[in-house]
Point group: C2
Chain length 214, copies 2
DNA sequence: TGTACATCAGTGAACGCGCGTTCACTGATGTAC
DNA sequence: TGTACATCAGTGAACGCGCGTTCACTGATGTAC
């Protein structure tokens, strides 16, 4: 259904821009198919052949758009990074004030990971291997920056730069770990008790004490 | 070398117990080979065939000891859980007092994960799929318990059970996230500055404020 | 406007790989008499 | 003590699978004249 809609749209908008070879469409379709695979069947399902199959195209067609498997993963990971950055910006803009903003941005981060586990895993793998990746226009850079800004608005300023960076490390760890913990069984009764997953996340984040000192 | 030692020991102790078919040795050798593979080449290298190759045995021999691939992963994951639990117990016993103990146990957890990344990944996967695993003598249960005890000794008691569980969730998240964060590039200068990875971990954990309130 | 040409996205066959798993077997060992 | 037997750990061939990647190709499209 989602796919039907997409292809109808693709057919409807025949001359999308001035330059119109018979280019472009498959690449977008492949990226969309890749994200569908990623969320439906997980990171291991995101193979070149699986991608071609999902897009209804021959097994080798994707090679005209992605040099190899790693390039495909990289391209899709970039899309995920852009989406996450957008979600964080949105949370920031709708919650303009210190502590409230910090929690909103954090919740947005964790909720993105929970809603897109395959993408989050891909992004994490890419992050871990980051050194072997062209850092030129590194879109991942935006995410730590957004989070750092949200927290620095909520925390008391510190003269000690090392202390500041250690606090940032702790905050990063908390967010990343919360993604795991929210998926554990033992969190289920707490979510029920508090009424929703989001309430659970907010309650946990509310116990980050550095923010309390603000 | 490790392997040489093990096989020498195995040969030396010929009649290890009363009952002595030609049993037992390969299973231990396979588990050892599996752990070697896991740390040397990562979780994806831990295949039935790779295991047999590493142990110098035919590709199908492991099937006499592990029903299938999942059973192999499960068995090796159990060993990892036992090791981690032992490391946590050791940290607890050598640091008997509240806050000091909490940090020592936490550091032991993170250091285990950093020193055994393949095993930690396997254990995490197993944990995530825990519901589909026989919970009878679940050795994983010991790890949350040890961590929970270490923290409850360092934190002020709370009357509110929900509050206590939310704090536990935050602590869990911090530990698991710290495993990631300690591997990020941006942690490297902090490790250098503080003199060691352990010092970095302790410094971050020292900023968990709930412990400060104790 | 019409035709020849160049471009290049997409095809389909083929390669070699490692995997999990099955099956009938072999051979060393322990047990029963 | 000696022999026949049962057990069962380990073997080797074989299966079907999905993968990444190459290669020569085809065919639709845009461009040049």
């Amino acid at each position: 259904m989602d796919r039907g809609l997409a292809s109808v749209m693709a057919e409807t908008s025949k001359p999308p821009l001035a330059k119109r070879y018979h280019h472009g469409d498959l690449e977008r379709a492949l990226l969309a198919a890749g994200r569908r695979l990623l969320e439906r069947d997980g990171l291991t399902a995101l193979s070149m052949r699986g991608l071609a199959r999902e897009a209804g195209v021959s097994a080798t067609a994707p090679y005209h758009h992605f040099k190899d498997h790693a390039a495909l993963l990289y391209a899709i990971g970039r899309e995920g990074s852009a989406d996450l950055a957008a979600a964080l910006r949105d949370a920031r803009d709708t919650h303009p004030y210190g502590r409230d903003q910090m929690i909103a941005v954090s919740v947005a981060y964790v909720e993105f990971a929970l809603a897109n586990p395959g993408m989050y895993q891909l992004m994490s793998d890419t992050t871990r291997l980051r050194d072997s990746v062209p850092p030129e226009d590194d879109p991942e850079g935006a995410i730590p920056r957004l989070i750092g800004q949200a927290f620095s608005g909520a925390l008391p300023p510190t003269h000690d730069d090392v202390d500041r960076r250690l606090r940032n490390a702790l905050i990063w760890a908390t967010l990343r770990g919360l993604v795991d913990v929210a998926q554990f069984r033992f969190a289920d009764p707490l979510k029920d008790l508090l009424g929703s997953e989001r309430a659970f996340l907010e309650a946990v984040l509310d116990r980050i004490p550095m923010a309390r000192e603000a």
